[in-house]
Symmetry: C2
Subunit: 357 residues, 2 copies
């Protein structure tokens, strides 16, 4: 039976969500304090308010690719990376001052509202929200260790998964810091950009897949290939994200198309433009971007300069390079992995390359 | 050879600091990006800018209490809890808006200053400091897993240590959240307070000791005793901390004596007063405490009401109860643990009970 990405998701997403629910409900049962109950219950609502569960699905698929026995027992440890991902989203929303995520309130914003509803003493609502948000991210990082501690696999394998969990997040942090620092750089090579997004976006996807292979206990020779495939998925995803962030349809993506420009983010679009435009236009582009208070007109002018540099095609061509490389890796893996997971990976690759949301 | 707390610290602190240094310098060597180098180097400076290393010392002592072979190899995994402790201090300083810690700049404050020195684009200095502070705490949480992943013990034992590492921090978070919620409660029993500080302050000390016993691979029957001893150390430490926070000598403690009162913290002092004072005085105390803008005169009046309730003696008596219980546990352990560590625990117990800083 062949099975593509959306069928795979349909099959496993309810089971992944069931485990996320169980872990949070177990915590809820353990605590007596009423504020702790509100806290864990809000965390449960937040975790279940949306999300495509791409990382757990990748762990499950990487596991099933090499092993078909006991496929159910991989679902529990596959959720570790989903906690890690959500923990970093909770902190990101504080850092970026985003009050909403996937159309639902951000975690910190839920506690800003909580404060307002109960008119709490001594703290202002915004600070209360931020404090509980910082703590909430931390809880989620630590709950993410749980799936490796309570499953049916051998502890030696779990120990290795925890090492990958740690590495994944240290990588993500380094990617995020390099990106923050890039806001102040003007001379960034495409290689630097690829390095940065490999860490920021690629590491979690890569480690989710390597963790799956690790649990399948297969020949280690496949790990470099799976690792490369995961990083490439991340690179392609981020490049397309950069394009959609400025040229996407707001109604479909749900994100305003001026955000990245206003933040001065060194997206693929901006980096390509700085390389391709004439010296005069490059200077003009930098003047516009570095202005802390950009007008609507400034945003339009930036987009016009982006288009003059033909950024959409050029960025897509870079993504295409990693797409082709991934096709080659899948071709090489073809005879060693199960056909249904081969189709899963192929359809996921096509989805992230061609997506419009 | 008997050995008391300060001699023990003198012996092991340099070795603990050496490992903290090595872990951070290894990270520094791994990264090429100049901002990442500044980041890890600032983290190294922060970690080494002070701290009594109580938690690693407790892991080492609990290990040595039951085992004398290979004592050096325990030093590496003993540092996990020090990372965990510092990670939570980094986040606490953001939440409490404290720009200094142990007389040195707080981690987030270092990056506020960094921003000002380099006049970075697009972000304001305070937000930049907060962002790097949140991320810095997260790095430190994850670096704290490293000591369990790279040492000379068996992976099965390391796996158990990671489970304790996770439990320790989930406990601390729950204690901190209960404490935040208590600001809005007026009717708190001593039992609730003890439960809260057992989590907030006791859990890290307890788990540091249990991790030591775990590495010594000794009879499991000792774990409940060591666990109780660790929680008691935490309880006594916190009660004395509450007293010193309001009645200590600022020149010795380095902390202003109006902080806890201004924050409305439910310290042992405040909880005892709310139980002991007459209804009129209790109402007056609550009015004073709940005022967001307290004057110097208000602070003095609160301290006067505290004294009327004889809080210092009453709180010390509660601490004394846990002190005596700990003495009994040590007496029971006497014939089963090494005499030098028995003396270490006894002198530490006396130190935290009698300390004035």
């Amino acid at each position: 039976m062949n099975i593509n990405f959306s069928e795979y998701a349909k099959l496993y997403k309810p089971k992944i969500d069931e485990i996320l629910t169980t872990i949070l409900e177990t915590k809820l049962k353990e605590v007596n304090n009423s504020f702790l109950k509100s806290y864990y219950s809000e965390l449960k609502n937040y975790l279940l308010s949306g999300g495509k569960r791409i990382r757990p699905l990748l762990t499950i698929a990487a596991y099933n690719a090499f092993s078909k026995k006991n496929e159910e027992k991989i679902i529990l440890p596959s959720t570790g990376m989903e906690f890690l991902h959500n923990a970093s989203l909770i902190h990101d929303d504080i850092i970026d001052k985003d009050d909403f995520r996937r159309g639902s309130p951000a975690f910190h914003y839920r506690f800003k509202k909580y404060h307002e509803n109960y008119s709490l003493k001594k703290m202002v609502a915004k600070d209360f929200g931020t404090s509980i948000g910082i703590i909430g991210g931390n809880t989620t990082f630590f709950l993410g260790l749980e799936p490796y501690l309570i499953n049916d696999f051998d502890n030696q394998i779990n120990y290795k998964a925890i090492e990958l969990y740690k590495k994944a997040f240290v990588d993500v942090i380094e990617g995020v810091l390099i990106e923050i620092d890039m806001i102040n750089q003007t001379d960034i090579s495409i290689e630097d950009y690829i390095k940065m997004i490999s860490l920021k976006t690629g590491a979690l996807i890569e480690k989710a897949m390597v963790i799956g292979v690790n649990y399948a206990n297969t020949d280690e020779k496949y790990i470099p290939m799976i690792s490369k495939l995961g990083i490439n998925f991340g690179i392609i995803f981020q490049i397309i994200d950069d394009i959609l962030g400025t040229f996407g349809n707001e109604k479909i993506t749900g994100k305003p198309t001026d955000g990245d420009i206003r933040e001065g983010k060194k997206t693929c679009l901006l980096i390509i433009s700085l390389h391709e435009l004439s010296e005069n236009k490059k200077t003009r582009l930098l003047d516009l971007i570095e202005n802390p208070e950009m007008s609507e007109k400034d945003i339009s002018e930036v987009k016009k300069l982006f288009n003059e540099a033909d950024v959409q095609n050029k960025c897509k061509n870079i993504a295409k390079k990693y797409y082709n490389e991934s096709k080659d890796i899948l071709e090489k893996l073809k005879s060693n992995i199960n056909p249904s997971e081969l189709e899963f990976f192929e359809s996921l690759l096509n989805f992230i390359m061609d997506r419009s949301f």
